[in-house]
Symmetry: C2
Subunit: 341 residues, 2 copies
């Protein structure tokens, strides 16, 4: 190994016998120096485990290699999963991602963007809280920092939006449910925090009308991110009031469906497509736990992989100077047939 610890780039360069600016250039982009010198630097790097001071670097660089990833609620495995994928892609691209969760709190979302600003990030990938987000603050942020929105759109904000084709989700599963049994009622929150919910309702209505059925929508009261609990409590009330006029319930999302399944269980309703079942339940998202509900939940799978790939691609293209106008990319969902419907 090394003898004396190397304190800075000056000393490190001296050890190799090249100038500091060249070493600096190497760290900025290894390809930008002659192969022979690159090898010498890399060899020395093995010996002396020197690493440039991050703070000194970022202070002077116009553009850091930092990327912020902001999601509305990290305790939701759906966001944890997509954040994980995005994070990995950023690392692979040579960036330093940092993960933030707004924990369902609009004020915290603003705080995060605020502190993110002082990190001079090369770009930010933001899944906004949605309806609750403070548009003004986010708009200002997007003006200053290259930002790509995902999951939940905010009209005209950011470089681009990448998400799911939510109407298609609903139409796909309505079609399936109608083919295999009674047409579904639609169960959703009255005041969903996520704007995708509206698209899904519209998709449901359109699909039902196309198939010649009357749309029936049941609304759950309640606010916030304790969605399963809302699904359980409000779903239970709706069951008791017999608000579902068919034996099939399509939930606006999987978390609501998970809570609704619990409500069914509490009332000893057998859920599924078997003859001895009294109700069918379906969700939308393919939440990581949907595979393990009882019965396993029939749902529409979000295309995690495509969304995460697309969102980082757009950001990095933009960082590298690509200046195409704002675009919105939507990915289709895939029907996941399980026992619940």
């Amino acid at each position: 190994m090394s003898e004396a610890k190397i304190r800075n780039m000056e000393e490190f360069a001296a050890v190799i016998g090249i100038s500091r600016p060249t070493v600096s250039k190497f760290f900025h982009d290894p390809e930008s120096v002659r192969p022979s010198t690159r090898q010498r630097i890399e060899a020395a790097l093995e010996e002396h485990d020197y690493r440039p001071n991050i703070y000194a670097m970022n202070q002077n660089r116009k553009l850091t290699k930092n990327v912020g990833i902001v999601v509305p609620y990290l305790a939701d495995p759906f966001f944890a999963e997509i954040a994980r994928t995005i994070e990995q892609r950023c690392i692979d691209a040579g960036y330093r991602p940092t993960l933030y969760s707004a924990h369902g709190n609009p004020a915290l979302e603003v705080d995060i963007l605020d502190s993110l600003r002082s990190l001079k990030p090369a770009g930010v990938l933001l899944a906004p809280l949605g309806r609750a987000s403070e548009r003004g603050a986010i708009e200002k942020f997007c003006d200053d920092v290259p930002t790509v929105l995902f999951d939940s759109n905010i009209q005209d904000l950011g470089l681009a939006f990448v998400g799911s084709d939510n109407p298609q989700f609903s139409m796909l599963i309505v079609d399936y449910l109608c083919r295999t049994g009674e047409p579904p009622c639609f169960f959703e929150m009255r005041n969903p925090s996520n704007p995708n919910a509206n698209k899904r309702r519209q998709g449901y209505i359109k699909a039902m009308e196309q198939l010649g059925h009357e749309p029936i929508i049941v609304k759950a009261e309640g606010q916030g991110w304790a969605i399963e609990e809302i699904g359980r409590v409000e779903g239970g009330k709706a069951l008791e009031r017999q608000q579902f006029s068919t034996n099939t319930v399509l939930c606006s999302n999987d978390r609501l469906a998970i809570g609704f399944l619990t409500a069914c269980y509490e009332r000893r309703l057998r859920v599924g497509r078997d003859p001895d079942c009294t109700i069918r339940v379906a969700g939308q998202d393919d939440h990581p736990f949907s595979r393990f509900t009882c019965p396993p939940l029939t749902t529409i799978a979000q295309d995690y992989d495509s969304v995460s790939r697309c969102v980082v691609e757009i950001l990095f293209r933009s960082i590298e100077g690509d200046d195409t106008p704002r675009e919105e990319t939507l990915f289709e969902g895939k029907l996941i047939m399980r026992a619940s419907a």
Copy 2:
């Protein structure tokens, strides 16, 4: 608002009519300046929205206000939840927490610690992967950076360890299960990634012996963090081989139990404590989803709140110079009675 943008502390100080060192002192500790000047600075802060350059600050300060939070698997809502709590406490204490997930990958865990090192954090809160962690690398890290371990202990490493009293968990629920029905079999992974599993097994054995029952342990094959799937597949096999010699199954953790519930469902076994049920299932952890399984899962609740409070308290005390020897703090669990057992 302001007229011209303020570029640095020099200009900001000039606007107020104070010297830069005083302003610097203010940002370091607002209490360290005279109340009158503090008010003037704070007033100016409202007007001009100036913020000190983080990189320049951290470059020169010996100790930053950064705190790293590292968990083994963020897509697990249990860790997401405890990370959220810890994060909030750090912010409240005036620190800048940054969240990292090893995504179940020991190499990534080392990478995280490595890049964390160059952030010169004031301290790190680390929930190690456990068995898979590379002890050598973590040991070196703990030598350099004040680190408090939580959730999963590594012998003699870090300033302290804070976790749960796992044997107590098992003893508590074994006692309950024996009081209310047949003594439980214990279902666990053969090679659990988390060392707490061993403590739980030992607690189970001890409790069973104390109560005069013979411990029966069923092991699930499989590696990694897809624990629900392992519980479902291996639990299903065990059911078919009739390896559970009583009608009660205590799972080593909730995620395993969630998968096992699915296995029971697939075999049309009715789970719960009602007379018409054929099997009872219990877990340990009080995973956020356990409330919504069908049936809702009887389990032992981890004391999230106490653990997170304790872990940050110990770290901040240590940062402020407290030099007490390494201690291990364990919190007891609470029985959560639900329908599954």
